[in-house]
């Protein structure tokens, strides 16, 4: 007994200290806008000569799988083997908050920073540098039994704002429309509202709000009369893909600029990136990644786009 006691005591102390460390760590992460000391960035800056250091990328869950996979590949490359890439989710808002607060090196976002950082935060958006690494397109999806193959912009507005409540009103089956939407703060929703409908709509009574794409697909495939929207990588046979203004949601139509419901996946840095972060971002847009990982995971390479779009939605040919 006597021998064991000090060990027990020591063990408990270690546990308490570990817990305390976790606590403070969380507190700084959560208190994003309180401008905590930026340890990661100073660390990387001092070590840049040998191109060693660490990168913390936080934000969009839609972009997370790509950054994670490319991060692994990047660290496996011999010349970058001394760089540690860490990827966290948390949502676009968290990513933008943390990168502008300095807690993260890269903030992943589904939307332009200017769209999220408005009003009092507009200055913060100006400090951020945008790196567009991929494009994600969204298709309107519906339950297989609706009997409608094509929807116009106006029809989508009427459906999502509750003016049309039955598929028979637009030539489909006699089936009540069930809207499967995203939460109002979601980047996917703002993309869909902005480029498919051109207007924001309030949630109507009886609609369903889900954040995860997997759940959206599950509910749309099972609920009679359901309509929703999903990234192209989530489309499969269990649901019906609806045309938009007569245009099929395909990668070719998106890159050619004929299908408008798409958005860039952004990786924001605060100011110009340091060498380590820049090496990673350059790797991200290299052909090696764009032609392989990006396509493989269901995104569209940013370099394939024949059109480009700015924050106000103005489209220009490349």
């Amino acid at each position: 007994m006597r021998l064991r006691k000090p060990f027990l005591l020591l063990g408990s102390f270690a546990l308490v200290i570990a817990l305390a460390a976790c606590g403070t760590n969380n507190a700084t992460n959560n208190g994003a806008n309180q401008g905590a000391a930026n340890t990661t960035e100073t660390e990387t800056e001092t070590k840049t000569e040998a191109l060693t250091g660490s990168i913390l990328a936080v934000g969009s869950t839609a972009l997370q799988p790509l950054v994670e996979q490319v991060g692994q590949k990047f660290m496996a490359e011999e010349e970058y083997s001394k760089i540690a890439v860490q990827v966290q989710g948390g949502g676009s808002g968290t990513g933008l908050t943390q990168v502008s607060g300095g807690q993260a090196d890269i903030g992943n976002s589904d939307v332009f920073a200017e769209e999220k950082l408005k009003d009092a935060d507009a200055d913060k958006a100006k400090e951020l540098v945008d790196h567009q690494v991929a494009v994600v397109a969204m298709a309107t999806v519906a339950n297989k039994e609706i009997g409608v193959d094509n929807l116009t912009k106006q029809q989508l507005i009427d459906i999502f704002s509750g003016k049309i409540t039955n598929w028979s009103e637009i030539g489909g089956a006699d089936q009540k429309i069930v809207i499967v939407n995203r939460p109002s703060s979601s980047g996917t929703r703002s993309t869909f509202e902005k480029y498919a409908m051109g207007t924001k709509v309030d949630d109507i009574e009886g609609s369903i709000l889900e954040e995860s794409s997997g759940n959206v697909r599950k509910i749309v495939s099972e609920t009679p009369g359901a309509i929703g929207y999903l990234a192209l990588s989530y489309l499969d046979d269990s649901i019906k893909t609806v045309q938009y203004e007569g245009v099929e949601a395909t990668v070719e139509n998106v890159t050619a600029g004929t299908y408008p419901v798409w958005a860039y996946e952004h990786m924001y840095t605060k100011g110009e990136p340091n060498e380590v972060v820049k090496a990673f971002l350059d790797y991200m847009v290299s052909d090696e990644v764009q032609k392989a990982d990006v396509v493989e995971l269901g995104y569209i390479p940013a370099s394939d786009m024949k059109v480009s779009r700015d924050v106000d939605g103005n489209i220009t040919n490349k």
């Binding site: 408990s12 808002g93 933008l96 309030d202 949630d203």
Partner: protein, 301 residues
């Protein structure tokens, strides 16, 4: 004095062990207090800034029925979520309480032998299942079932509270079982001696005696249901409206917080409004704790 030579050393050692133990416990306790106080401060400071810094009216927040933070004229009414939280947790408690009370009576009064051996591990197992599993089962089994039987999409408060009721079963059952097994033996024996049947003893003697403990269990179960986020979020639908049917999409405070927290910018009004909801949840938890304390006090008499 010389004869007792070893004893002062021993005493010294005992004193040292004593003080080390004392310092260690004091350190742990003060750390715990600091953590709790700072958490309360953190949530309160963020949650209150909605009203202090952003100038939102407390009444508008608590009783406003419209939640549309993204529109040109943003509104931050949290009443639909408060109503959703209360109705799901109260309904869950209503479903779970009779089941739990019967289960614990079964284990302690009716078949204390094999009944307890089989039922207790099963109920403890329920407590260990992760909430995402409950949510997924709810989405895959309960929602389609409700959709076929009742009007509506099956998603809604009914599905949410059914999932929750299974999640809070272990809480209520274990607290009731503990109370029942600590009941003085003489109480039942005197009842039987007076010629009462087992059912009369249970309904007139056992249940009234342990009622405060049963209520404690129910309140704790409701507190758990109130704070549960993930499983409910998957089956309730999350539309920011007060539903007019149990089978229509509704949302709870927790589901709105989890859906939107990551997508909003820290420090913006919308983000602060979400923290205000977290504060409301915390205040509700305090109220639940106070209720439990009051019930326990009654129990002691």
């Amino acid at each position: 004095m010389k004869a007792k030579n070893p004893s002062p050393i021993r005493m010294k050692r005992h004193h040292m062990e004593d003080s080390i133990g004392r310092i260690y416990t004091t350190f742990c306790v003060s750390l715990l207090v600091i953590i709790i106080v700072s958490m309360i401060y953190f949530v309160a400071s963020k949650g209150l800034s909605t009203f202090i810094k952003d100038g939102l009216n407390v009444g508008d927040f608590l009783f406003g029925t419209k939640w549309s933070p993204g529109s040109d004229n943003p509104l931050y009414g949290a009443l639909p979520f408060i109503v959703g939280s209360f109705s799901t947790s109260i309904l869950a408690a209503l479903i779970a309480s009779p089941l739990s009370i019967c289960a614990s009576l079964f284990m302690t009064e009716i078949v204390p032998g094999w009944g307890k051996r089989i039922l207790q591990p099963v109920i403890e197992l329920l407590a260990g299942i992760p909430s995402v599993v409950y949510g997924f089962v709810g989405l895959s089994v309960i929602v389609p079932l409700f959709r076929d039987i009742f009007p509506g999409q099956g998603i809604g408060i009914a599905a949410g509270s059914l999932v929750l009721s299974i999640m809070i079963l272990p809480t209520i059952t274990s607290i009731t079982t503990d109370a029942l097994s600590t009941l003085p033996k003489g109480l039942k024996e005197s009842s039987f001696a007076l010629g009462a049947t087992r059912w009369q003893t249970i309904s007139r003697v056992v249940i009234p005696t342990v009622l405060p403990s049963i209520l404690t269990g129910i309140v704790l179960g409701m507190a758990r249901a109130f704070g549960e986020a993930l499983a409910v979020q998957m089956v309730i639908g999350n539309a920011p409206h007060i539903p007019n049917s149990l089978f229509q999409s509704a949302s709870t405070l927790t589901s709105v917080i989890t859906l939107n927290m990551g997508n909003t910018i820290g420090g913006s009004i919308e983000n602060n409004a979400l923290w205000s909801m977290a504060l409301a949840l915390m205040i509700m938890t305090f109220i639940f704790v106070i209720v439990v304390r009051l019930l326990e006090r009654r129990n002691r008499i």
